[in-house]
């Protein structure tokens, strides 16, 4: 048997977090906590490893298949381990009218990657509207939002990524 999924501290956080989540729902509706439970797992491990999915399913008294059905439906869940920095660039209409296509090309060049390719350091993706239309163009790095982007701003953001 390989190493356990969680460190003892992580296991404690996970168990307490799930217990808290379950208290938000009717007792016979444990599986309702699926979305927040997956988010909790991902916040601890950076993605949704199979052993973790098993633990979520057990706690929520449902099947692993159900857990994967949900995990694979929503784009923010990573069923494969993503690069250290997940960079989501909005290329929808409001952003495109403010330079988003150029922004994406600029990032592809600077990071030497192609949008949609998961690498060890960067996972650059095109994403859909981030509700930042009046402050376009925008992107998110590991869910942190950045808007009104320019080349200078992007350069400064990328410099911080070690």
């Amino acid at each position: 048997m390989s190493e356990p999924l969680f460190t003892p501290d992580e296991q404690k956080t996970f168990d307490a977090g799930i217990a808290e989540l379950l208290s938000h729902y009717p007792p016979d509706r444990k599986s309702a906590a699926m979305l927040p439970a997956l988010r909790l797992l991902q916040s601890l491990k950076g993605w949704l490893p199979p052993e973790g999915m098993q633990q979520v399913a057990t706690k929520l008294e449902t099947t692993v298949a159900r857990a994967y059905e949900v995990a694979s439906f929503y784009v923010m869940y990573h069923t494969q381990k993503p690069g250290k920095y997940v960079i989501d660039v909005c290329t929808n209409l409001s952003c495109a009218l403010r330079g988003a296509e150029g922004l994406l090309t600029y990032l592809e060049q600077k990071l030497d990657t192609k949008a949609g390719t998961n690498g060890p350091k960067y996972f650059l993706r095109e994403t859909e509207c981030l509700a930042s239309c009046g402050t376009a163009p925008c992107l998110q790095i590991n869910e942190d939002h950045h808007e009104n982007l320019t080349r200078a701003k992007v350069d400064a953001l990328l410099e911080k990524l070690s």
């Binding site: 938000h24 009717p26 509706r29 599986s31 309702a32 906590a33 699926m34 979305l35 927040p36 997956l38 988010r39 929520l60 059905e69 949900v70 439906f73 929503y74 784009v75 923010m76 869940y77 989501d88 290329t91 929808n92 209409l93 409001s94 495109a96 009218l97 403010r98 330079g99 988003a100 296509e101 150029g102 922004l103 090309t105 600029y106 994403t127 859909e128 509207c129 981030l130 509700a131 930042s132 239309c133 009046g134 402050t135 376009a136 163009p137 998110q140 869910e143 942190d144 939002h145 320019t150 080349r151």
Partner: protein, 445 residues
């Protein structure tokens, strides 16, 4: 006067600390809930009906009427729920996030009033997964409200338990559709339900449920501040209050603004208080008036007021208040492709016309835009759209939910109103604008 002189929803946004309970209460916060909770639940719903408040999520449905569809406790003894739709994701729309960031207690005060009126002891706020910062602000506000005895066993001291939880989505536009939102709250993938039954009767966990948008519920305290007649009078015709709109695209000053229902799209684009027009020498090519699913308008059609019913003669809709402006140097075919690609990506895969039709339309538009198309593709494009949801009028969709319509309407309206642009792509076998299809602000600098 069609430029709003008195801000209603956004008046406190600039105040430092407004998103904390202390400052919110200092300036009269929760006084309206205290007042409303002295009324009988039915009287609260009556006030909301009289206010002419209409749903700000896109449909513009009268809020008080929606509440009144919940059956009485005598008829249905199941628990009832309020679900707040904070899954703001219709392209062009960025308003609810600012309520969460700047004035979260306004929403929570509205929730207190609404839940009391509905007899709901649990409220779930379903927020967009991508809203990291707005969600953190909201979580803090909820914790403050519990610590202060506003929520919990006794709602503001009343013998009425109210629990409020935030649930974060995980990146699925479809979960803004109210029955998909309920499925997601139940811990499932967001597949919309067949209606009827409607959520007011069979909603979350099979119980009566009202689903309301953030801006809608944040409007409730204002109704009780100066009365339903005042709130209704702020608006126009059957649309009470003011609205938050997001102006984006080829304008000098994009942003989120509070406008009167009688403000026109032209005023929004050109007034110095709002968009400040287009750059010198540029003119309007097209305007999407209510989020990307709303049928597009030409430059001649923008004198329409932002009131919900005003769009009917144009066969379009006020929707979620996302106004996207395309200037005369932006390509409408390329613009439509971006929109079509979105609906293709976000189709949940349940209904066949939508699952198959949206990607098909996106491919056809791309083909035309890149100069590989022929006339038959254009006819085919319109036929696919008509098969998903015939237009006009709006609302004839053949799919389980309105996402089918949402993807078809832009295609039909763009082709109808800008057919020449599509045909020019077919004739030239390329985009007439070459490598710069995004107008004045389209270059990344």
């Amino acid at each position: 006067m069609t430029i709003l002189t008195e801000k209603v929803m956004t008046r406190d946004w600039a105040r430092p600390g407004q998103n904390t309970l202390a400052v919110y209460k200092q300036h009269g916060g929760y006084a309206q809930a205290k007042k409303a909770l002295e009324l009988a639940p039915a009287a609260i719903t009556d006030e909301v009906k009289k206010s002419n408040l209409r749903g700000r999520g896109g449909a513009g449905f009268p809020t008080g009427m929606k509440w009144s569809f919940v059956p009485s406790l005598e008829k249905n003894t199941k628990p009832r729920y309020l679900a707040i739709n904070a899954d703001e994701s219709e392209p062009g729309t960025a308003k609810d996030r600012f309520i969460l960031e700047n004035d979260p207690h306004l929403l929570l005060e509205g929730i207190a009033i609404a839940c009391y009126a509905l007899g709901a002891h649990t409220c779930y706020i379903y927020s967009r997964g991508e809203f990291k910062y707005p969600s953190a602000v909201l979580d803090k506000a909820i914790a403050e409200a519990y610590a202060d005895g506003i929520f919990g066993k006794k709602l503001m001291g009343k013998d009425f338990e109210l629990n409020v939880y935030q649930v974060r989505g995980a990146g699925a536009y479809i979960c803004g559709e109210e029955t998909a939102l309920l499925e997601s709250l139940e811990g499932k993938k967001g597949w919309p339900r067949l209606k009827p039954p409607f959520p007011a009767v069979v909603g979350l966990f099979g119980c009566p449920t009202v689903v309301n948008n953030v801006e809608t519920i944040a409007s409730i305290p204002r109704i009780f501040e100066k009365g339903a007649a005042w709130f209704s009078g702020l608006g126009e015709a059957k649309s009470g209050g003011t609205r938050l709109v997001t102006l984006s695209g080829s304008v000098n000053r994009p942003g989120t603004y509070e406008v009167g229902m009688n403000t026109s799209i032209r005023e929004l684009i050109y007034d110095k208080e709002y968009g400040q027009g287009l750059p010198e020498g540029r003119s309007i090519k097209a305007v999407i008036p209510g989020g990307s699913s709303a049928p597009v308008l030409t430059a001649d059609e923008i004198d329409v007021k932002l009131e919900f019913d005003a769009f009917k003669p144009l066969q379009s809709m006020a929707g979620s208040g996302g106004i996207i402006v395309m200037d005369d140097q932006s390509c409408v075919v390329r613009s439509l492709w971006r929109v079509a690609r979105f609906y293709a990506e976000e189709s949940c895969g349940q209904g066949t016309p939508c699952r198959e039709g949206q990607p098909w339309m996106a491919r056809l538009i791309r083909k035309i835009e890149e100069g590989r198309g022929e006339m038959a593709d254009l006819d085919n494009l319109v036929n696919v759209a008509q098969a998903i949801a015939p237009w006009p009028p709006i609302g004839l969709g053949n799919t389980i939910c309105a996402l089918g319509d949402a993807g078809a309407l832009p295609v039909q309206s763009f082709v109808q109103k800008f057919r020449k642009d599509f045909e020019e792509h077919l004739r030239l076998h390329r985009c007439p604008l070459g490598n710069a299809p995004w107008g004045h602000f389209g270059e990344f600098k």
